[in-house]
Subunit: 422 residues, 2 copies
C-alpha cells in the first residue's frame, strides 16, 4: 500500500534537503558531468520513455482530451533527442554558483565578498508537458538546487520514465540521486503539501502552466513563488515609427507563435501616424489571418475589424486575435499600458530615441523593448541557456528565470582579527 | 469618527501605489534633496517630537512597562540629531536605481540591459523604537519605494511627529507626500491588513522587532517578507587559532552589545586546542561578566561554569550568557552549526586558510566570517549606509538589507527592427 500523501511528501522534502546540502558544495564539473550522464540516459531510455508516453496518450484519448492537449503531451524520437540536447546545453553553461557578485574592502581592512549560492530546494508544479521534467531538473541541478517535480497527472508515466533515466545518470556520475525527485502520485493533495512548503524544506515554487494552475499556486502557496499569471503584451507604434519596421515587428509579435506568453495581445497606434500607418498595419494583420478587434478609428479601416469591448484590453488571447486602438502619443500609450499590462513584456517602435528612452523607463514591465518583437521574451533568446519560467513579480527574479536567477548569495568576510568598536 | 480599519488601510495602499509610480521615475538628486529636507524638518520639529515622546513615555510608565523598554523608546536632543544625521547619510548614498547590473549583446544585435528599479511599496512593521520611523522611511525613499510604516503602538505619537516632519520636508522638496505614510491607528487589525497585502498594493513586508512579531509576520503574511527570526550566531575557535586573536574576537562577538542579533550565542572550541585555549577563553568571558554554560569539558575549567542543557544550543540569549562546548575539529563545528545555526552569522578563528575556506563555503548562513567578530553583521559596517533589517531567507535579499537590496530590476532591450525567427 502506498504511504499517505503527507508522509510521502514529507519524506520527499527531507530527501531533497539532504541532497541540497551535498549539491551546494559540488564543483561545476561534477554538475555538468551529471547532466551529461542524464542526457545520455534519456537517449538510452528512449524506447522506454516512448512506451510510457504511449500509455499516457492512450488514456488521454480514452478520456476524450482535446487533440491540441494530446499533441503537446506527445513524444517522438525527435522530441526525445531535443530534450536530451537541452540537458546537454544546460550542462555547458558557466557555473552560476560561486560567482563573486560584489567585493569591497572596508576602512578597517575587512574584505567583504557577496558570492552566489544555490537557492536550496525548488518545487516545480507543471502541466502535462513532458519536456518540462528534463528542463526543470537540469536547470535546478546546474544551479546546485534539489528539485521536487510535480508533473501533470496525465503524463505521469512519461515523466516517471524521464526522471528515472535522469536519476540513473545523476547517480552514475556520483551525485545524490535525490537531487531530482518526481512526486510519484496523481493525488492532488501532493500539490497542497508542496504549496505549504513541506515542513519548511521547499524554498521556492515555480508553477508552469495555464492561468488556473498559476492562480491556485499564487493564492495558496506559503512559500515564495516565481510566476507569471499572463503575458498581456503591447506593441506601441509611435508617431516616429518606420512603417516597414513597425509592420514586421507587429506581425512577428502577434503571429510568430500565438500561444506563447510573449505574444502581443494589443496594438497601440499613435494618433500622429494613424493616417499613414494604421491601414497598412491592420491590413497586414488581417492578411496574415489575424482577427482584429478595434476601437472606432481602427474599425473604420476595414469592415472585417470587429468592435473591441472593454474586456478585450485585458484579454490574453493566446490566439490569432489582436485588440487595437489609437492613442494620443506616448502619454496615451503609457496610460493604456499602465492600466492593462500584465507587467510581462511591452515594446515601442519608434525612430525617436527620447520617446524610446521614456517608454523603457516608464513602462513597469519585466521586459521592455525598443524596435524589437515581444516574442524575444524568452530565456533562450536572452542567452540564459533555457528558462524555468518568466517571472512578472519584482522579488528575486524578474523576466526569464534561468540558472542565474535560481541562485541566492551569501557574504564571505575575510578578517585579520578585527573586532567592532563599541 | 475614524473610518473602519480596512477602508483606512486600503486608502493608504492606493496612495502608496500612486506615490510609487512617481518615485520610480524621480532622479537621484530629487530623492537626496527630499531626504535632506526631511532631515532638516526633523531637526526643526525637535521640540514637538520630544513633547510627543514625553506623552508616550508617560503612558508607558503608567502602564508599568519595564525600564529597558522605556529606555529604548526615549528620545532626547542627541538622539533626534542622530536620527536626522542618519537620514542625511542615506541622502548621500549613490542612487541604487538605474544601475546597469548586466549588459550583453546577442548575436542578432539585440542589446539587453538588466537595470535596477525600485521594488515598489514596502510595508515596515516595527516595535516601539522611534528611530526606525526615520531610518526605514529614508531607506525606502532613497530606493524609490513608497513606505507604509506601522509603528509600535506605544510610540505612535512619537512616530507621528517624526513622520509628519519628514512628510513636510518631502513635500517641500516636491516629492509626493504619500512617499512615506504612517498607519495612524493603534488598532492591531491594521497589521493584519498589511500582512494581507492591502489588495495587492504591498510588494514586501519588513518586520523589525522581537521573535513574536517576526513569527506572526512570517506565518500570516500573504506577501514576501524580509525577516530574520533570530541570530543564533557561533564563533568557532579552530585548532590553528591564535589565542590572543580568538580571545579578542570571542569577547567582542559576545559582549560588545549582547542585545543585537549579531551577538554570538555559542562558542565552539576545537578539541585540538582545548588544552591551551579553552581555559583562557572561558576565564576571559567570566571575567567580563558573562555567564558561561558548558558541556562537561568546559565545566571542568571553572566551577562557575553551569551545565548547558540541550535547549541552550538553540537559545538566543541576547544577554551576557554564552553556551560553550568542545567539538571534534572543523567537521564537528560544521555539524553543530548545521544543526543549531539560525543561518544569520557565524565565524571561524583560525590561521589555517584551508579550514577557513571550507568553513566559509560550507556554513549556510547569510554572513560567514574568518578572523572577525560576528558583531560586524550590520549594514552600516558593510558600508550600506544603514539597513532596514537583516534577512536570513534566501530569496531576494540576504544579510543586511540596505538600499540596494530594496530594489528590483527590469530588462531593457534595444533593437533595430529585430523579429524572432520561427
Amino acid at each position: 500500500m502506498a504511504p499517505p500523501v503527507p508522509a510521502l511528501m514529507s519524506e520527499i522534502g527531507q530527501r531533497a534537503r539532504a541532497a541540497m546540502r551535498v549539491l551546494a558544495l559540488v564543483p561545476a564539473e561534477a554538475k555538468s558531468a551529471a547532466l551529461r550522464a542524464a542526457a545520455a540516459a534519456i537517449r538510452t531510455a528512449g524506447r522506454g520513455i516512448l512506451a510510457a508516453n504511449a500509455l499516457d496518450l492512450a488514456e488521454m484519448r480514452a478520456a476524450g482530451r482535446a487533440s491540441s492537449f494530446i499533441d503537446r503531451a506527445t513524444l517522438d524520437p525527435g522530441r526525445i533527442e531535443a530534450m536530451a540536447r537541452g540537458v546537454d546545453e544546460i550542462a555547458d553553461l558557466p557555473d552560476p554558483v560561486g560567482r563573486v557578485l560584489a567585493r569591497f574592502e572596508r576602512p578597517n581592512g575587512l574584505l567583504i565578498e557577496r558570492v552566489s549560492t544555490p537557492l536550496g530546494v525548488v518545487g516545480v508544479i507543471y502541466e502535462s508537458r513532458p519536456n518540462v521534467t528534463a528542463d526543470a531538473a537540469a536547470l535546478c541541478l546546474m544551479a546546485g538546487n534539489a528539485a521536487i517535480l510535480r508533473s501533470g497527472s496525465e503524463t505521469l508515466r512519461t515523466a516517471e520514465a524521464i526522471a528515472a533515466a535522469m536519476a540513473r545518470g545523476i547517480a552514475e556520475a556520483g551525485l545524490p540521486v535525490d537531487a531530482v525527485q518526481l512526486v510519484p502520485t496523481r493525488d492532488r493533495a501532493a500539490v497542497g503539501e508542496m504549496l505549504a512548503g513541506l515542513g519548511g524544506t521547499v524554498d521556492v515554487i515555480v508553477p508552469r502552466g495555464g492561468r488556473s494552475l498559476v492562480e491556485r499556486v499564487q493564492s495558496e502557496a506559503r512559500v515564495p513563488v516565481f510566476a507569471h499569471l499572463e503575458g498581456l503584451c503591447h506593441v506601441f507604434v509611435h508617431g516616429q515609427a518606420d512603417l516597414a519596421m513597425a509592420t514586421g515587428i507587429v506581425l512577428n509579435a502577434k503571429m510568430r507563435r500565438t500561444g506563447v506568453c510573449g505574444a502581443a495581445e494589443t496594438l497601440l497606434v499613435d494618433r500622429a501616424c494613424a493616417d499613414t500607418h494604421l491601414t497598412p498595419l491592420v491590413e497586414a494583420l488581417l492578411q496574415a489571418g489575424c482577427e482584429v478587434r478595434g476601437d472606432e478609428v481602427v474599425r473604420a479601416v476595414d469592415p472585417r475589424v470587429a468592435a473591441a469591448s472593454e474586456a478585450d484590453w485585458s484579454t490574453e488571447y493566446l490566439d490569432a486575435i489582436i485588440s487595437a486602438r489609437v492613442v494620443d502619443g506616448l502619454d496615451g500609450a503609457l496610460a493604456h499600458i499602465d492600466r492593462y499590462s500584465s507587467h510581462h513584456t511591452d515594446a515601442i517602435v519608434t525612430a525617436d530615441d527620447a520617446a524610446a528612452a521614456r517608454f523603457l523607463a516608464e513602462v513597469d514591465s519585466a521586459i521592455v523593448l525598443h524596435n524589437a518583437s515581444t516574442q524575444f521574451a524568452d530565456g533562450g533568446e536572452f542567452g540564459f541557456g533555457g528558462e524555468i519560467g518568466i517571472a512578472t513579480g519584482r522579488m528575486h527574479a524578474r523576466g526569464p528565470v534561468g540558472v542565474e536567477q535560481l541562485t541566492s548569495f551569501k557574504y564571505r568576510i575575510h578578517g585579520s582579527g578585527q573586532t567592532r568598536p563599541s
